[in-house]
Symmetry: D3
């Protein structure tokens, strides 16, 4: 199996706070991550596409096509924003796990059409000390 | 000259928006950094202390003393916060330049007393693609 | 599948030397790594927990619970030590392969109870030029 | 499963240009990568060997044996060269996907004989923003 | 003194070969770097501007202005190219030392006009193991 | 001013313990770094040579000459060793400050003769979170 992983970045803010919980419960669960003014990260985003090489180009997916999809579907939407403002996170706490799954769902269809591979994995790097990976097998 | 540089991290959010300017002027100056909900970074903080080695320990400053000063003066205050909420940035836009200078002023006195050196430089690493350094020469 | 990987560090020393072998055999096998005074590394440790998100928190494992387990079971034990002094390595040469497997066995049970996932992989990064991964599939 | 991954580097140049295509088609497909004078990268190469630990050494593969195989088969051949000059890439455009597969084929047999594991994966890191992995399962 | 350092990248190829020397002398001096087909690097470029903060913006230089100058003067010219093709290196061997000085001279005037600081330093990072810095003091 | 900085690595062990102090004083001063069995680091070493470019080569110092000096004077001596075993640290606690100064003194003379520059700075990177720099100005 051959795969290509492309890496992107988007600085953004988030607040870990569930509408289903009281203020005290949120603070108890999420600690300083529940601070209502928010805090932020230089999020790293890895997009891994696996499949066959296109016999004409030697590429699994043309890099510019991949970049364009990630830019329009994710970066234009999350970059320099408060993630909680996005409709995706209206009813979903923007933990990195939830971000990874939400990004996978946005990208799987267009990346599947852009080349000869399929979206195998989305990685969210929240800080240099933690990362989150969502993968689907065919 | 011998120096030690210790590196810290604090995820935080900020908004680039000046009270002295109109909304349109803020957007024109700061672009997406003026988004009122804020965005964030994994800020890196470098603290460089230069001077003489203590003949007894071979250290310029005891590492735990340095860590304690940085933790109580800066990290406890900025970590997982919106920087604009801090009194330091009530009337000062929290650009990384302004953060570096504010941090220097908080740390210079206690670090000068903690060992045999002086605070030579504070570096703020906002993203992997930019950094800001404030230094004072004796 | 969704997973979270948290990264830790512990500076430590080790000696590659087997009691079952002669001095000459140890030097022949392990070269400069057999130097009896030891040498050391800034070991990186990656702990990957995979599973389901807790529907209440959006987390696979609460980060503080994970950190507490790794700290008490591994870091407090290995950090700033000679690994050969640890009972785990009385009869086992502390190659990074052996360290990875030993760490996995220490962490699997408590991490399995700490959240809604299971310990999927332990990675030991000995230097920036090599890494070692032990994984168990369910 | 236990694995060791060793990382190497070789600065090299390449040109993305297929003999089966016209000049205009090459430029249209590969953009600035088709520039006939070439451009280059600090290629990173990851070699992942998975298997059993040798009970005598605690290693999957002796590190020096691995380094020697990678040096003689790959680094001596690609380091500080134009990859298009290599016979492997006479009729194959040296995309990173093609490099990863070619390297795997050169290394699988000798690495399989050098220890108690098998070559599980070859990774090519072309820039800090993309990587390519080729793996074969037994 | 306050400074901002912005970091850029441009993959490029080069050949170390002086027209003033014979083929044998070039190989003797530059070794494998004299390979006539060229080799390449993911060059890192650091641009450090030092000076005063603009009292209105809190910036030394507006980041977009800096990026635009570096893009039009350097990146559009060197990115994905063979540096020896550039007029700057017609009679000058493109060692990283020479690249750093040439870049400084291209950038000093426009960056001096773009904000309230001056170009203090240009850094060229050729590989993760070497870097080259050219600085001018006022 | 133009400078070149080359980066090296040497895994080594050390113990922070002064012969002039009692056991209790050592533990009180150095904490877990005083553990008598030692602990270790992947030390990074930066060697910065500043000066003039050689008009014939465009180099400040030939990279192979620099590497050879660092290898024979420092790496062959410290790599995979306990630093306390070295005569340099018989009466000097091997803090990173002391290592930086000792390395500077070993390298200054030979590097001054190897090219058209002078040794401007030696940096010791003990962990990713601290570094130590010793510089002498002419």
């Amino acid at each position: 199996m051959i795969s290509v992983t492309r890496r992107y970045r988007f600085p953004a803010a988030h607040v870990l706070r569930s509408r289903a919980l009281s203020d005290a419960e949120n603070v108890s669960l999420y600690g300083q991550c529940a601070n209502p003014s928010g805090h932020g990260h230089n999020y790293g985003l890895e997009v891994c596409v696996a499949g066959e090489r296109d016999p004409r180009t030697g590429w699994i997916v043309p890099p510019e096509a991949c970049d364009e999809i990630v830019r329009t579907r994710i970066l234009d939407r999350f970059d320099h924003r408060l993630l909680n403002d996005d409709p995706l996170f209206r009813d979903l706490v923007p933990t990195a796990e939830n971000i990874a799954i939400a990004v996978y769902r946005e990208l799987a269809a267009p990346l599947g059409k852009a080349g000869s591979g399929r979206l195998a994995r989305v990685g969210i790097i929240e800080t240099p000390r933690n990362r989150f990976d969502y993968e689907e097998t065919p």
